[in-house]
Structure formats: structure tokens, C-alpha cells
């Protein structure tokens, strides 16, 4: 197995609509460098106002929720947060440890 010094940081933003420039309503962070530990309830303030702000800060969008046809008879049911956007940053572990 090849071991690299590159690690992935993941940011998940939940937005108010399918548009990236709408407000963040929920979020999650997972840091593959092991330098930061995040958990449920650790912050009440969103890391960015909207998804576009995350792009401006260097996060790469890697996945967005599709818009799904509403199932007849189930149009008004609500369940999971609807507008989920996955972002990543690839960081060099050595550089972080030396900073």
C-alpha cells in the first residue's frame, strides 16, 4: 500500500434551497488530518453564510443532492434535510504539522 502525505477534509453544508448561494441551515465537518475533532452539537454558528462563501474559501464541491420527483400521494411528507452539498479540501499533512 502506498502511503501519501495527502489527507482529505470534508465539509457538508445543508442549504435553504438547491442554489449554492442560499443560507446554510446545517453543517458537519470531518477532518482526515486528525488535527481537528468535530462532533454533534459542537457549534451553533455556521462556518459559512452560504455555499458560495465556502467555494471562495477554497473548498471544492464534490457532490450535491439531486432534485427528485415527488412521489404521488407523498408530496407533503418531510424527512431528511433536502439540499446537501459535500465539499473537500486536500491538504498536505507535513505542511500542516510544520505550520
Amino acid at each position: 500500500m502506498t502511503v501519501t502525505n495527502t489527507r482529505q477534509q470534508v465539509l457538508v453544508l445543508y442549504l435553504a434551497t438547491s442554489a449554492l448561494d442560499t443560507n446554510v441551515v446545517g453543517w458537519a465537518n470531518y477532518d482526515g488530518t486528525g488535527q481537528n475533532f468535530h462532533m454533534a452539537g459542537d457549534n451553533d454558528t455556521p462556518p459559512y453564510k452560504n455555499g458560495l462563501e465556502a467555494l471562495k474559501d477554497g473548498w471544492r464541491l464534490i457532490q450535491a443532492s439531486p432534485l427528485i420527483t415527488h412521489i404521488p400521494g407523498n408530496e407533503y411528507r418531510t424527512d431528511y434535510l433536502k439540499y446537501e452539498f459535500f465539499f473537500e479540501k486536500m491538504v498536505n499533512l507535513e505542511q500542516i504539522l510544520n505550520d
Binding site: 458537519a28 454533534a40 452539537g41 459542537d42 411528507r77
Partner: protein, 308 residues
């Protein structure tokens, strides 16, 4: 059931319908809090060797009975116990009767104890993920979980975190664990003797105890013993409550207080599904009223105007 119980009013019930919780600070008097902690076997922290041993002692020797689900709540606890006394406080009995009827059914109970960091040295601890209790539950009938905090809960004790208004979302228990933080989430920081009544669907999770004290929270889940229709004190429901208020071009009159409560959005609502939440709240209120014509802001009436 006693005769002097104090039932919820319509404003409180609408608050529960809209947000999925009701909180009563210091509703349990100090003498009952002290009695409860003594009965469960609370001891000073320096007498606790480790969490597993302490939990074992509490589980085997405390006054909390081992009960089968499905029995009447009123028969569940010994009449000499603190829990019995708490359930029979007029305001507590009234709140329970308003939500799940005069003969609610015992589902289960559990004493949650969270321990301070000194017991976990070297092991990274984390808070409990967001989850909805039990399993997928699309019923209109609803269970209530009564959470009792017998001592002061400070911020660093990691009291229950929950998301107001999430109770009508139909999700599968731990599937929502990915959501670490949601705008508008609350956590219990409260004085001793506080009760939190939660709709079964509320998204919630326990926090991490970073204090130097143990944190106790006793939870009872109860099922309705009857159809949950007009079980609260409805004497304050005026005629204007049944009438549509103007929408969009509204003037300055905010309208009926219950309408306002039912239509107040949560900060985490998405733009489109936030409207669905309003519709589902109206549906829930219709269920509670037993009146399928009730509406607020025309949300359901509009889409029900179908001709065949």
C-alpha cells in the same frame, strides 16, 4: 387521577404542535429532586470508581422499578416513590393528561447518567449523534417522552440537545447522524426540577459532560391511552381561531395568537419544505382538534380545492 390537575391551555398545546416540545423549569420542588437522587443511589463523585460499576449499582439497587411495557402509567411506580409524586403534581399530571390522555400507557424508562472527563482519560469522547428515538413512525397519534432533570444542568454538563420543529419529519432513527449542527438547535441548560416534554419525533442527542459532576436525566416514554382529541383545556379557543386570517396583503393586525404560533417558522426550515412544515402543522392541529376544516393561511384549503 386527581381532580385538581392543571391542564395545558391552547397556546401551550399549539406550541407543542408547532415545535414538538414543552419545557417547564423548576416545576418539581427541591424536596422531590433530593428524594429522587437519594432513591436512585446518587453518591459524591469521589465514591464512584468507574461508570460501569456505578451504573451497575444504580441498575440493581436503585428504587427505579423494572417494568414491562404496555401497563398503565398510573400503576407503574410505587406510591412511596419520588417518581410517583412527580407524576402526580397537579401541573405535571395535567400536562400528561393534555398530551396523552387520562390513562397513558407506560412504554419504557431509563436513567441516563453522563460522567465527567476524568473517567475517560486517554479516550476521545464524543457527544451523541442526532437521532430520532425508536424507529420510523408515521402515526398521527403520538407518544411523549418526559425528561426530568433532578439537578441544575450547566452548559458544560452537556444537557440534551434537540431541534425544535423537527418532530413531524419522518426519518429512520440514527440515519440523521450525519447532521452535526443545525441552525436553531437548543440544549438543556436548566435549573433543578425541570421537565421537558418531547414529541416522539424530535431530533435530539445527549451532550458531552465536560464538568466535574455527574449529570442525571430520567426519561419516561408514554403512549396515548385514547384518541388525542381536545384533551387539553380548550376553553380559550375563541371563534376567531376557526376563521381564516388574511394572507399576503394583511394590514398590521397579526391575527389570532394560535395562528401565529402554528405559522412561526424555525430558522433551519428550508425555503420550500418550510411550507410543507406549515401544512403538516395544520394537519396535526386538525387531528388534535378533530376538525378537518381547520386551516391557517389557506395552506391546505387551497390544495384541497379539487373538483371531480
Amino acid at each position: 387521577m386527581t381532580d385538581d390537575l392543571t391542564k395545558l391551555n391552547s397556546k401551550q398545546m399549539a406550541e407543542f404542535a408547532a415545535r414538538g416540545f414543552l419545557r417547564f423549569d423548576s416545576i418539581v420542588p427541591k424536596k422531590l429532586n433530593d428524594k429522587f437522587l437519594k432513591e436512585v443511589g446518587h453518591v459524591p463523585l469521589d465514591e464512584v470508581n468507574n461508570p460501569i460499576e456505578h451504573y451497575g449499582k444504580v441498575m440493581t439497587s436503585s428504587a427505579i422499578p423494572v417494568l414491562r411495557p404496555g401497563s398503565l402509567l398510573c400503576d407503574a411506580y410505587p406510591k412511596t416513590s419520588a417518581i410517583y409524586d412527580i407524576l402526580n403534581l397537579p401541573s405535571v399530571e395535567g400536562a400528561i393528561a393534555s398530551l396523552v390522555g387520562n390513562k397513558p400507557i407506560f412504554d419504557h424508562h431509563f436513567l441516563h447518567i453522563t460522567f465527567p472527563p476524568k473517567f475517560y482519560e486517554g479516550n476521545q469522547q464524543k457527544s451523541q449523534h442526532y437521532h430520532q428515538d425508536s424507529t420510523i413512525d408515521p402515526r398521527q397519534a403520538f407518544d411523549v417522552q418526559m425528561m426530568y432533570y433532578p439537578h441544575d444542568v450547566t452548559v458544560d454538563m452537556g444537557g440534551t440537545r434537540f431541534l425544535p420543529g423537527s418532530h413531524l419529519r419522518i426519518v429512520s432513527e440514527a440515519a440523521i447522524g450525519r447532521y452535526q449542527n443545525i441552525v436553531g438547535q437548543q440544549r438543556m441548560v436548566c435549573p433543578a426540577g425541570t421537565l421537558l416534554f418531547l414529541h416522539m419525533g424530535i431530533w435530539h442527542g445527549g451532550g458531552l459532560n465536560m464538568s466535574d459532576q455527574m449529570r442525571y436525566m430520567f426519561k419516561i416514554r408514554m403512549n396515548p391511552g385514547e384518541r388525542q382529541m381536545r384533551l387539553w383545556d380548550t376553553s380559550d379557543l375563541g371563534n376567531e381561531h376557526y376563521e381564516q386570517r388574511p394572507i399576503f396583503w394583511t394590514g398590521t393586525d397579526p391575527g389570532n395568537e394560535i395562528h401565529q404560533t402554528l405559522m412561526k417558522p424555525e430558522p433551519w426550515f428550508e425555503a420550500d419544505t418550510g411550507r410543507l412544515e406549515m401544512m403538516n402543522r395544520v394537519r396535526f392541529w386538525r387531528y388534535l382538534l378533530g376538525d378537518n376544516n381547520f386551516d391557517v393561511d389557506y395552506w391546505l384549503t387551497r390544495v384541497e380545492r379539487e373538483y371531480t
